[in-house]
Symmetry: C2
Subunit: 228 residues, 2 copies
DNA sequence: TTCTATACTTTGACTATTCAAAATCCATGA
DNA sequence: TCATGGATTTTGAATAGTCAAAGTATAGAA
């Protein structure tokens, strides 16, 4: 079994590969994601590559092999099921669940995990709307667009939040910008680099384009319009 | 914070000290409990003693300081609450809960632990009847006697099982000798070194004195007798 | 008192993971 | 073509925990 250190490297690698499909992840990037120095990342990656979980190209970066991806997805499954469990069953704060799950994901047994999965009714997404890989290591990754891509007057539903930091999640929750929430774009000013979004039944929220891009929504290009 | 390794040493030390109150725990004993060689135990104990959590007397053994006891009790609280949680909430098998909790006890946060405590209704004993230390690090340790000390015809109630091994627990469960179960001593033969105990509504079970000693009961010396 | 079995301690070595700092590579712009 | 700067790799060293094997202490037996 992979050590918890290696599990972390694999998980971060997988997440990063989603951003830039198929590309090699540069060492510096991986190092900051895992929270170690670049030298450490190089050493570990070489070891991981030796065990067949990744392909390492010096000065180019790393990429997971199929075996590495599978392992990463198992870790991610544990992580996301735990997050949902912590929020739903234990009532842990949404913004803290990520950090808690980060620890638990490396020690939870398969037995306990399947119990949790059962208790939650075999859920397909975690509290941030991120898909939970199946126990066979499959994830469905629907194409989504973000709040930043919508026009004034568009209405949509948030399905996913692409930032796990507790500060951002606290802000999102306080604003009412949570998964399942319906929102309307009230203003859209590309020149100013900001939009204003109004969650159903809440005050409008100002968002920079960078912040807006973290809210993934559906439908992407709404056909049904609604008066603003 | 103490590492998970040190937490394990402290926990085993505390448990062992309960057996022989106040005495120093010999190195060999500690080593087997923790599952390392004697040399390793000596090295670790010296480090633990240096950090003020235990007193180490070369060739005599170790004893926890007050600070060490407190830390040990916090670990034990985590362990026992987790065991109960695994059994009650997740439906994990009684006999497996111990091993699962063994891992989780070192990574669970205070926040999650208090949630679990709340969810379980601030329980006072774990699934084996072992008392759960309070968050302030207090345990009440009632004087109990064992099935081995009772006479033929005595009836009593099992309150605690002093063996965490899953084999023994599986046997106990299969026989009906679980906490809260009422039992009657049907035969008692010190010469043969065995007794026969009948759990309410079950078949009588043969027990060696060693096995019988693992079932702690109340009342100790029943005043109310009952026909056999 | 002396010997010895047994438990305990010491020593040297190994693995996994990490960092800091020095060395190296390489795309870029002059 | 050549010097640079930034990213990357290498190197040397440190920490935590572990084992095997060699050395040591001591309670009893003789």
């Amino acid at each position: 079994m992979a050590s918890r250190t290696i599990e972390n490297y694999l998980k971060q690698l997988w997440l990063q590969q989603q951003e830039a499909r198929g590309k090699f992840v540069p060492m510096g990037k991986l190092a900051t994601l895992v929270g170690v120095t670049a030298g450490t990342a190089t050493t570990m990656v070489k070891a991981i590559a030796d065990s067949g979980l990744a392909k390492y190209a010096p000065r180019a970066g790393v990429r997971l092999t199929r075996a590495g991806e599978q392992l990463a997805l198992h870790v991610l499954r544990r992580h996301r099921l735990l997050e949902l469990f912590l929020v739903e069953i234990l009532g842990i704060d949404w913004s803290d669940a990520h950090a808690e799950a980060e620890e638990l994901e490396h020690v939870i047994s398969e037995t306990v995990l399947e119990r949790i999965d059962l208790l939650l009714g075999h859920p397909s997404v975690d509290p941030h709307g991120d898909p939970i890989p199946s126990s066979a290591g499959k994830v469905e990754a629907p194409e989504l667009c973000s709040l930043a891509e919508l026009q004034k007057g568009n209405s949509t539903v948030i399905v996913r939040i692409a930032d796990q930091s507790s500060e951002f999640l606290r802000f999102a929750q306080a604003s009412g910008l949570v998964p399942q929430a319906a929102v309307v774009i009230e203003h859209h000013n590309p020149q100013a680099g900001a939009i204003s979004a109004r969650p159903d039944g809440k005050q409008p929220v100002m968002l920079s384009m960078a912040a807006a891009a973290k809210f993934l929504v559906r439908p992407c290009a709404p056909t049904g319009r609604r008066k603003k």
